[in-house]
Amino acid sequence: MELLVCIKQVPDAKDVRLDPKTNTLARDGVESIMNPFDRHALEEAVRIREEQGGTVTALSMGPPQAEEVLREAIACGADRGVLVSDRAFAGADTWATSYTLARAIETLGSFDLILCGKQAIDGDTAQVGPGLASRMNLPYVTCVQKRRQVDDTGIEVERMMDDGYDVVRLPLPALLTVVKDINEPRVPSLKGKMKARKAEIPVLSAADIGAEKECIGLAGSPTRVVNVFSPEPRGDRKIFTGTAEEQVDQLIEHLRDYL
């Protein structure tokens, strides 16, 4: 089975902090990591390959340093990593991102199953997965919490809903976005790490994937971020003191409007 996983490199949340003085995101020592949900998508792909045979391709769009997450993906079991990188992709919103990923995937060949994370922890939109499926005319399911069964003809999964879950069956090829509950990702093996170090990560440019200029980057993005600001700080703040009872009384006093 030919599997492809979309992986985004994101800033580590623990480093993303607003600097209260300048009101901007603290940037010193911000580390980049693999988007946490994508780790689960990758793990699921590797498990399917282990059961069914085939290959797992990890694909990322991003600046040159996004190569790191692809090496990590190889260390965690992917067979190869491919980076799509071009200055012309800068400023892409989810519309342009799904276009670019779709073009790249079509360039790479055909796949039975494409896996994405539910959401990237920086952009936070959860839109790229469904957008990509729609561009490739694939059936899809979002927020998959469990894979029940997969074979050449189709896949049966549990889709997490707000009030429970649905059991859904899709023919292949298809696309899934996954949540954390689906599996426990493995840590990279020593062998995997060595393979990752030696791996060659091909880089595809806008021209390589035959992307149309007006569909990529800022030009291809219908949305425009026109302002970025920090959320309003919490008003009155209090840490109570005294016995448990005294603290509870003070809290109830302050929560009057909410009780």
Binding site: P11, A13, K14, L18, L25, P36, P63, A90, T94, D124, T125, A126, Q127, V128, G129, P130, G131, S134, R135, P139, V141, T142, Q145, M161, G164, D166, V167, V168, R169, L170, V179, K180, K213, E214, G217, L218, A219, P222, T223, R224, V225, V226, N227, V228, F229, S230, P231, R234, K238, I239, F240, T241, A244, Q247, V248, L251, I252, L255, Y258, L259
Partner: protein
Amino acid sequence: MLKVDSEKCIGCGVCEDQCAFGAITVEDGCAVVGDTCTLCGSCVDACEAGALRIEEAESGRGTVDLSQWQGIWVFAEFRHGVVAPVTHELLGVGRRLADQRGVPLSAVLPGSGVRGECDALIAAGADTVYLVDDPALARYREDVYGRVLEDLIRCYRPEVVLAGATAIGRSVIPQVATRLGAGLTADCTGLDIRPEDGTLLQTRPAFGGNIMATIECPDTRPQMATVRPKVMAPLEPDPARTGQVVEVEIDAGLLESRVEVLETVVSEAEQVNIQEVEVLVAGGRGVEGEKGFALIRELAEELGGAVAASRAAVDSGWISYPHQVGQTGKTVCPKLYIACGISGAVQHAVGMQSAEVVVAINRDADAPIFDIATYGLVGDLFEVVPLLAKKIQERKK
């Protein structure tokens, strides 16, 4: 691409401070732009020397004749016999936008056996309800719902389409926006409209609520947004309001699906969606087990709220994943969030820091949760939580 005019740049560093993404550094007296630039334009506005500008490639999508698109639409989400509460919230905000713009407000209601819901949607603010009642829509299936919405939007051309940022809304709307070539803003918490040109100003949290961004779609229609539940206020239902119901026939071909829903499981515990309640009482590792969660549940019931949890509690098997708040769980913004025995790790904080009031109960006075709490109680939760529940109960009498 962000261009720096090195002749004009005076190396003052204002742009460097302004950039929320750390993409600009001043080197040898001149601004240098790095790869993390998102082209948001904050620096361009801040630069007093006028040395920065954003250069755009020609957009080839051509300009859409914006005047062809009119009216505000709300996707009415119907599941298990009820219209999702967020639909009423959307009609509330939609009414305001429609009045500011002087255009009608419509609800689109796909489903099976949903005719009876139309009056309530009109009472909640809609002028028109587009009803698509078909057995093929009995269960939510991505492809069918997507095609039905797309078809209606192409046919009636609304300028704005709003949907709840729910499991269904966030799954189906991106597909529709992609095919329409429309901009889509995710999980908005603020919406305004510029009356002159009808531009929708969409404000949303990103980076786990650490920053807020305002987003516009200047050249495309419809302008689409998913909106976070519990943020917008519904109108008081007015049964005297009048409106029309337009029953739409859908081409049978559009109702064919590749997705088969074999079973729908509504779990007792998940019946309360933690993203749709006003009060959440959350337990973490400090709760120590299912017994501890019984105390959390009692307090939640006393407050008319629901139970949430940290990942540590979920991973320990004390409560199920749909209750998890945080980076790899759900993002919530209730009016009141009471965190009990939760340390306040950043991956938890990003899921709850936009709550109106945060109460922290923790025995460690140095726990980071106190940095984001409105009110903090330092003590043993096994003492504090039951006491709080008892006192609230006494107060109600």
